[in-house]
């Protein structure tokens, strides 16, 4: 059994994860406006993908397993998208007795 190759892959993955952590921490300190949350979530998604592909062996798993791994994120995407459709298009009329935001 070739012990060396997977260990190398794990080590490189770990190093990449720590680098991405440093990157996301660093970027968060820069004033990038709307790009800040985008960047931090994209980096988080890349980190999660690295964990899934290498540590959780999805890279060499059968297609069925990859499909199973993707179903729940897809279902959540539906939850966020359709609820979001409500939130994005709903007008909010605060009642007179509700204090304005910030209090």
């Amino acid at each position: 059994m070739k012990a060396g190759r997977p260990i190398r892959a794990y080590a490189i993955t770990w190093a990449a994860l720590l680098l991405l952590l440093a990157l996301t921490f660093g970027l968060a300190h820069l004033k990038l406006g709307a790009f800040n949350p985008v960047a931090s979530l994209v980096i988080a998604a890349v980190k999660a993908a690295l964990v899934a592909l290498f540590f959780m062996h999805l890279r060499r798993a059968r297609a069925l397993l990859v499909l199973f791994a993707l179903v729940a994120p897809f279902a959540l995407a539906i939850l966020f998208a359709l609820s979001g459709a409500d939130y994005a298009t709903r007008e909010v009329h605060p009642a007179p007795w509700v204090a304005p935001r910030g209090e």
């Binding site: 059994m1 012990a3 997977p6 260990i7 794990y10 080590a11 993955t13 770990w14 994860l17 720590l18 952590l21 996301t24 921490f25 968060a28 300190h29 820069l30 004033k31 990038l32 800040n36 949350p37 931090s40 979530l41 980096i43 988080a44 980190k47 999660a48 964990v51 899934a52 290498f54 540590f55 959780m56 798993a61 059968r62 069925l64 397993l65 199973f68 791994a69 179903v71 729940a72 994120p73 279902a75 959540l76 939850l79 966020f80 609820s83 979001g84 939130y87 909010v92 204090a99 935001r101 910030g102 209090e103």
Partner: protein
């Protein structure tokens, strides 16, 4: 069953069944089945956390400034250190699973203990954070003393405690299970089903790590550039 009603179909449709020809390795079958079962379970866990993410999405889009202001009270250095700790624990766990599959029992045992140690370190740091947040009066419903931006900050910290709390419970269960399996590994034999157990435990551990990977930017990195 009369001959007229039993029909042989041409076959070739659907997945050919390797079981019938006896060319399925029982070890591989059990490993893949356990893996499939764990992935289904992890899907349920992701859906469980999903509701919290929707609540967070609601709060962040409805009062982005409020969430930004509230998040300045989280401890980003501790959060970042904890993220590094958990990522490293995943590395150790991946090595442990690899050692188990390689039949290197003692190495697997040691790596599992290392994994659990990192997990415990995470929980200790989290406990320290919670202690500081209690002291600072940031626990909604129990001890919340922020005077400004109270409404959004209350909801932000509510989501923070629920999300990180449930995550911590999952991690604690993971740590306990890892230590228990490491303990069981002291016996000389390393049967195939034990290796499968370690493999699926690894999947669970990495999932708990992946959830934290998302919680970290949502609660710690919102407003560090003010």
């Amino acid at each position: 069953m009369s001959a007229s009603s039993r029909e042989i179909d041409a076959g070739g449709r659907g997945e050919p069944d390797r079981h019938a020809r006896g060319d399925v390795d029982p070890r591989a079958w059990r490993e893949e089945t356990a893996s499939l079962g764990m992935w289904v379970f992890l899907a349920t866990e992701l859906m469980f956390f999903g509701g919290l993410f929707l609540a967070y999405l609601y709060l962040r889009t409805h009062d982005p400034e409020g969430v930004a202001a509230a998040s300045t009270h989280t401890h980003e250095w501790l959060g970042t250190i904890n993220t590094a700790i958990l990522l490293t624990s995943s590395f150790a766990m991946a090595l442990a699973v690899h050692a188990a599959k390689d039949a290197r029992r003692k190495a697997a045992q040691r790596l599992l203990v290392v994994t659990a140690a990192f997990g415990l370190a995470f929980l200790v740091v989290k406990g320290i954070e919670y202690g500081m947040e209690w002291r600072d009066g940031l626990v909604p419903g129990l001890r919340f003393t922020l005077a400004e931006n109270t409404r959004t900050a209350t909801l932000f910290f509510f989501l923070y405690f629920v999300a990180t709390g449930i995550h911590a419970v999952h991690l604690a269960i993971g740590v306990a299970t890892v230590l228990w399996i490491a303990w069981r590994l002291r016996a000389a034999a390393l049967p195939g089903w034990r290796v499968d157990e370690i493999d699926v435990l690894g999947l669970y551990w990495h999932f708990v790590d992946a959830v934290w990977i998302f919680l970290y930017p949502l609660f710690y990195l919102v407003n560090l550039n003010a």
